[in-house]
Symmetry: C2
Amino acid sequence: MADAVAATPEPPYYAVIFTTRRAAAARSPEYEALAARMIELAAGQPGFLGVESAGDVAAGITVSYWAGLADIERWKADAEHRAAQRAGQTRFYEEYSVRVARVERDYRFAQGDTPVRA
Amino acid sequence: MADAVAATPEPPYYAVIFTTRRAAAARSPEYEALAARMIELAAGQPGFLGVESAGDVAAGITVSYWAGLADIERWKADAEHRAAQRAGQTRFYEEYSVRVARVERDYRFAQGDTPVRA
């Protein structure tokens, strides 16, 4: 569901950087299903622009992109998402951070592009 | 070198979100050494606040945190970093994006904290 490199529009837009260190309980199909469901659920929200996810139990980073701060507030307050947040705190994460950031500029490179800007 | 969850100060500060899909040449000790060296080099730059890195060949995300935009510009222009950027474009990455974002707010949870904000 997540892209390796999300195709976001021109800035400005917003990023939610979710960084995790998982607990032992996250080594489970239940955790994997919940994580996949949250990405699916986020992707259906208003203002969703894309999501990137990488990592494993020791270190995971998921970055979701949003049109505006109101979209992020709405996603944070979603009832199913709230239940997942509680499960994350009580069972699945040793530690995590959530950072809300305004993307000011971006740059994208793919093989076939002209290499290295001046 | 990278932390699972970086201990950054109170916002505002800046994030550089570096998302990659690696090429076959990145399955090499040379790539791993270069990636580790870049984290070491970044950590010695003025304004560096922390770095988080997760993922593998299919999808990698590294987020570095900085006090200000001028620090990011200086890091981008660093000669050894520039050489690594060129190697990334010509050899190690199929695709990547760099997003510069201003962190407006953050939230951190660790086991032992009181669960779930209202």
